[in-house]
């Protein structure tokens, strides 16, 4: 037994374990890679939440959460994001069935809810700044605008991405690459909804209790 191994070793050239890389189907590692990106994004938000938690009580004799926040407006905003999550889920279901028109329609509805969310948030920011509650006013407001603004920026880029993919699907149909892209945006979109749960709980609701 041992002799046969040694003769085999002598006979052949040095053998490496990864002799030839077996071919990977294109994009097979994309979901995991994208998930790891989302986790790193999660750390960005964790740091912004930590900053808000540390300086969120420093009003510098300026307005506090109770003076500024309008809970019915935040509830409306939350509803927009929740609706956009379920409509994106429907888009993924119709995509799995290969129905291009229905997928495009659900993506368009999702984009509308995303734009509604952004409009309400911009209206809220404009209202705050109009009242003098600018990011420069206090540490609390700096942290608030950074945290909520970063989330809003993510939704903005997600919406741009959504329109880009709608154009891609219109041009090429539901090809494998487009399915993969829609899958990644789905993860991104639902992830932003998860972050928003943290925002409305810790910033808005807890702010009203402070």
């Amino acid at each position: 037994m041992a002799s046969s191994i040694s003769t085999a070793q002598n006979a052949e050239a040095p053998v490496f374990y990864l002799r030839d890389e077996h071919p990977h189907p294109e994009g097979h590692s994309t979901p995991l890679g994208f998930w790891i990106y989302l986790m790193s994004d999660c750390l960005i938000f964790a740091i912004l939440f930590a900053i808000y938690g540390v300086v969120g009580g420093n009003y510098a004799a300026g307005p506090g959460p109770k003076d500024l926040f309008d809970l019915p407006l935040v509830a409306l905003n939350t509803a927009m994001l929740l609706f956009s999550s379920i409509t994106y889920g429907f888009a993924m279901l119709t995509m799995a069935k290969g129905r291009v028109a229905a997928t495009q329609a659900w993506l368009a509805v999702t984009a509308l809810f995303g734009l509604a969310f952004l409009s309400i948030e911009l209206y809220e920011f404009r209202h705050l700044i109009h009242e003098g509650a600018t990011p420069q006013r206090s540490a609390f407001l700096s942290a608030f605008f950074t945290l909520v603004g970063t989330h809003g920026l993510h939704v903005t880029f997600g919406t741009i991405w959504l329109f880009t993919l709608m154009a891609q699907v219109a041009k090429h149909g539901l090809i494998e690459a487009n399915r993969r892209r829609l899958m990644c945006l789905s993860m991104f979109w639902h992830f932003l909804d998860v972050i928003w749960i943290g925002v409305f709980t810790f910033v808005y609701l807890m702010g009203m209790l402070r």
Binding site: P31, A46, S85, M95, H190, L205, M208
Partner: protein, 128 residues
């Protein structure tokens, strides 16, 4: 010999890749959506009506609702489970959660004690 093992290996690999693209079902999405609506509405109602009386109790309650809702979103919308990508997504999530807890709890803990211990001896409210 080597080509034979490669040929045996490849189909299994492709099957594995195809399995990973698991989409949700209509029922799963609707259950997730229903739960999310309830889990969002209750905290808003608790805070807006002050039904629990004590602010501290309300704060703990809405934090609990947030944690449950995050789990609901992870399971029903992000389709998180221990099998996707051979468990690597779950491992990455657990690792991230550990870091998040360290960052959040550590920052709040350290800065709270810093604020308490570094307070100037005089009362700031009496400074003109």
């Amino acid at each position: 010999m080597s080509s034979e093992t490669n040929a045996q290996h490849q189909p299994g690999h492709d099957d594995h890749a195809a399995d990973e693209h698991a989409h949700g079902s209509f029922n799963g999405d609707m259950i997730g959506f229903g739960l999310s609506v309830v889990l969002t509405a209750i905290p808003f109602w608790l805070v807006m009506s002050g039904a629990l009386g004590s602010n501290q109790l309300t704060a703990f309650a809405i934090m609990a609702f947030a944690v449950v809702q995050i789990v609901v979103h992870m399971v029903f919308f992000l389709h998180m489970n221990g099998r996707s990508e051979g468990g690597w997504t779950l491992l990455a999530l657990v690792f991230t959660l550990i870091l998040v807890v360290i960052v959040l709890a550590g920052s709040l803990w350290v800065m709270y004690h810093l604020n308490t211990n570094m307070m100037p001896p005089h009362d700031m409210r009496q400074v003109p």
